[in-house]
Amino acid sequence: MISVQTGDFDTGAEYAALRASGSGTGAIATFTGLVRDSGDLSGVTGLFLEHYPGMTEAVIQGLIDEASRRWDVRDARVIHRVGRLALSDQIVFVGVCSAHRGDAFAACSFIMDALKTSAPFWKKEMTSDGEHWVEQKASDRERTQAWSSD
């Protein structure tokens, strides 16, 4: 399940959906990203998120497909919000269930890392001094590249 949406999401409902994947599931790993008060700038008061409708969903589906080839993935759910977000709002959810914990952790963190460098989303930070588009971080590119050498 992939959703790009302006509204909030309920991680409890997402977890319940992953848990319903059957009696072979032994491990559920989830990640949720929240709006933090210090990003590129300090004193962040909110974000604006833009995406490329259609391409975004296709890229995320490709990441889930790749994760499913590399690890035992029984189900994966990805939600990403767009539009205006306030401090502490939920931005992104990635949940994976698997027979084994190693696969659940690996697939969940791979999808999250790769999403940050390949899914067409762009983030603008709001501060009391104005707003600015966030720059892509070298550390994010390195985290994604690290998955290639596995």
């Binding site: 990203g33 490329y52 999403l115 940050k116 067409p120 989303f121 966030v134 892509q136």
Partner: protein, 86 residues
């Protein structure tokens, strides 16, 4: 006969700085992404950044592409800064 065209879209900082969501451009035989960038940058002003120092990413028909990728009539070509979601 209608002139064959392709669609160019801009996102995020580029969309704002060029004050343009999308354009319809004539499609020429043998054209590449790089040809489009050169053509658009020649408009000058803020358009020059399309051939500037800052990285510009490109997608053709919603798949990541390169300067050498060929483009043809009917294609959707998108230019945008490196992505920053998550």
């Amino acid at each position: 006969m209608t002139e064959p065209t392709l669609t160019v879209r801009f996102f995020a900082r580029l969309r704002e700085e060029l004050d343009t969501d999308s354009l319809s451009l004539p499609a020429n035989d043998g054209q590449t992404v790089n040809d489009l960038l050169t053509q658009l940058a020649s408009r000058g002003g803020r358009w020059a950044q399309l051939k500037g120092d800052q990285p510009v990413m490109v997608a053709v028909n919603q798949a990541m592409a390169k300067p050498a990728t060929a483009v043809k009539a009917g294609d959707e070509v998108a230019f945008f800064p490196p992505v920053t979601g998550g």
